[in-house]
Every structure is written in structure tokens, then in C-alpha cells.
Symmetry: C2
Subunit: 221 residues, 2 copies
DNA sequence: GGAATAGTGTCTATAAGACAATATCCT
DNA sequence: AGGATATTGTCTTATAGACACTATTCC
């Protein structure tokens, strides 16, 4: 007589940046898009984080850069069978070239905070909540780097802001903040284009997520 | 065949300030102290917040000044019956003189982050997590006012800091921050003692919790 | 050289911290 | 007057923002 997991769902809002666009990971089942979600497997999971990670690893073999619980909601109305509970997580991933992806996995775009497609159930609301959290947290933490590939330039960090918010902080502020902390390592490599090459940085080994003591002001709406 | 709530618990970490001390609300059952906690009542509750509030209103008729979800934890070990889930909330209350209190309600002291008594189950861990959240959030929000009575002085706000953290920000900074925002109203009244009287303020009607864009620096350990 | 983006120098603005100086009550 | 706490004035410090300027690449 253990926990009945039937009406308890773990839903994951997974974001990535691909070609300058914010994207959301969905499962497409019978034409309907929904969030990766599932039940606790008492035999497999030792905590809710593991349940959330399992939802993602069933869709891809790609590593999750960042995972955080957003909120747990419960109500009598959200599921037609009655009272149900949903634990919402959000995940940040890197856009990688050829990891394995499940048949039904599909990344959909988010442009100006609006999803390109519609989602089943109340999943749109969950995405909006997770996105709010993300948009707020990038302003005082090192979260932007978790949306970027292993090696990135400081302008890439700025690009994360322009993609997620209307306005990005000035490069001066981004450089000062990220280089002041002992958070990034200069790889010595350069990214070349039809312009002055940019220094490629990587996150220092085992750096925890860095929390700064101020928000950027330019990013407040 | 609705939600089986047997292994889902809503636990509330309720704090108040009384005579310069931070206190935690507990239920004392057979000599054991535990957090106010209970199950979802599908017939009564429309969301988890309501379940949390119900735990408190069964112990007292006093109003809750602030309520926030901390985290949901799940694991196979915390309950001997197997996998269980706990949604943790924290609440801030004012110390009032004579509201009704249930027989088994008991406020216990927290001194330098250490509980004066021990708690059943893993409730100590939940309190520590909630306290961490609170200690962090008072540094960039108007939360301190929710631990104070309806009318309070600016020094009272500083007292909240000294009680919760080792160090308080200077009065200058507290005054500037709280008076800059259109958050408090000068009641015109004064609190008298054997010294210069202090102006009594109250929170402006229907002010939402105010979030500032910086942390105090003096309060970082 | 010109376009394009990277990176620096430097001044301003804002808000916190330090600390001294007043102010206003009580006894 | 003296003690006590409240309140203000003002200077310093830290970091973000604005913006002009320089640097380095490709073409």
C-alpha cells in the first residue's frame, strides 16, 4: 500500500537556445504537444529531481546543464479525475548537434514570450511560470552560461539576454560581472568571423551557480 | 478513485518574533514536537496554499501575514511506509496578545539558527531550509515587515535583521530603502520610551511584497 | 581602406556603508 | 544636565550604465 502515483505528475519545462531562438522541449503525441512529464517510479527514483531527469533522459541522451524545481501546484480541476498534483521543474540545455532524440521529441520556438504552437492541458501556464523564473534569475546569476555550449564568448552571454528579454545589459556590465568573479576560464582559443575574433571562455570546473548581489537595471521592464 | 493523500503531506514552518527572539510554531503530541502538517482534504482545499493555511487555522485564529512555498521533497526513505511526498511552506506571523491557540500549539525558540528543542522526523531539516530561504529573502524584500505588528518603527525592522542574521544593515540603509519606496505610511503616532520617540509606520494598504534590486552587503556572512 | 564585431577607458548615476552630528524624548 | 535612542548629513565605496574610443580580424 505505497504511494499511489496516479495523480501526481512531474512536469519538466526544458529550454535551449538554437540559432538565436529560445526553444522548448515537447513531446508530440497524436498531433498534440505536451511537456515531458511522468509519474514517480518508486523503484527507480530516489528523489523528485531524479524523476524529472528521467523524463528528459527518456527523450534524449543529452546532458542537462541545469535543473531547478519551480513550484508544486495542486487543485481539484486540472485533471478530470479530480484532485491532482504537479511538481514543475525547469531545465536548461545546450544545443548540441547529434545526440539521440526520441521519435516524439520536438523542440518548439518561443518568440517574444509566446509559444509558436499551443500546448495540451494547462501546460502553457507552466511554461510561462518557468520562463518568468528564468527571466528573473538570469539577471542576478550565472544561469546564462547553462544555455550556451561548452565554449562561448562574452557576446554569447549578451545574446542570451536579448533572446529572453527585450533588452540586454551593456557588454561593459556583463564583462565586468562575469570576469570579476573567478567563474570563467579563458580557453586561449578564438572564435573567428569576418571581424575581430572573440575570446572563447568556458566555465571553471565544478563552479557552482554563481549568485550576484544585484540585478541589472537595464533589463527591468 | 481520486488522489490518495495518505503519503502526501503539507508541512508548514511558521515563524514569529516574540520578545526579540525568533520562534517556530510546533504541535506538541506526547512530548514530541512536530511541524503543523496534514493531508490535502479534497473536499475542502482548492489548492495547496489552502491546505497549508488550514494547518495553521486549526492551531490558531490568528491571521497569516505571509505564506510561501519553499520546496517539495520526495523520497523512499522519509516515511517508513515507503515513497512519500512533502510540500514545505513557510509562514510569517505577528506576535499577538490573545488570539485563540489550540491546546497542543507551542512556540519554541530559535537562537543563533539552532532550535531550542528537537523535532520529530526530519522536521529539523525542513525548518533549516525554510530559515535559509527567509534569511536570504529579507535581504532584498520587504519581508521583515511581515514579522512585525501592524504599527512598527524603522528600528523594529533592524531588529528583525539582528534576530535572524548575525549582522544588521545600518539604519541609514534601512531607512533609505524602505522610505524611498512608496511602501510605508507614517501613522503620525510615536512610540515613546525613555528616549526620543520613534515614528510609527504601517504598511500601505494592499502593498504587494516589495522586491529590491540589491542585497545588503553587511548581511552577507 | 572599410565593415564588422571585440574589447577598453572613463565618466556618471545609484544605492549601500561608515560615521559623525543633531534631535527629542525621559528621568 | 545626562542617558538613550531616533534621525539626518555627508563622505566613501562598489558596481551598473552610457558612450566614445581603440583593436583586430576579413574582405
Amino acid at each position: 500500500m505505497g504511494l499511489n502515483t496516479a495523480l501526481i505528475s512531474i512536469d519538466v519545462v526544458a529550454f535551449r537556445m538554437a540559432s538565436g531562438q529560445l526553444q522548448l522541449l515537447t513531446r508530440k503525441l497524436g498531433g498534440l504537444h505536451m511537456l515531458p512529464a511522468g509519474r514517480i517510479e518508486p523503484e527507480l527514483d530516489n528523489c523528485l529531481d531524479e524523476t524529472a531527469r528521467r523524463q528528459l533522459s527518456s527523450l534524449s541522451h543529452q546532458q542537462v546543464a541545469y535543473l531547478e524545481q519551480v513550484e508544486t501546484i495542486g487543485s481539484p480541476d486540472r485533471d478530470s479525475r479530480g484532485w491532482s498534483i504537479t511538481v514543475v521543474y525547469y531545465a536548461l540545455m545546450t544545443h548540441e548537434d547529434n545526440p539521440w532524440w526520441a521519435e516524439d521529441a520536438e523542440w518548439v520556438g518561443i518568440s517574444e514570450g509566446e509559444l509558436d504552437i499551443s500546448l495540451a492541458y494547462d501546460h502553457k501556464r507552466l511554461v510561462i511560470q518557468a520562463l518568468e523564473r528564468l527571466k528573473n534569475k538570469i539577471q542576478y546569476s550565472s544561469l546564462p552560461v547553462y544555455l550556451l555550449p561548452e565554449e562561448f564568448t562574452l557576446s554569447d552571454i549578451q545574446k542570451v539576454f536579448t533572446t529572453l528579454l527585450e533588452k540586454a545589459p551593456p557588454m561593459r556590465s556583463i564583462r565586468n560581472r562575469f570576469l570579476r568573479e573567478d567563474l570563467l576560464v579563458d580557453t586561449g582559443k578564438l572564435r573567428r568571423g569576418s571581424n575581430r575574433p572573440a575570446a572563447l571562455y568556458r566555465v571553471k570546473e565544478q563552479s557552482p551557480t554563481c549568485l550576484f548581489d544585484r540585478l541589472y537595471l537595464t533589463t527591468q521592464q
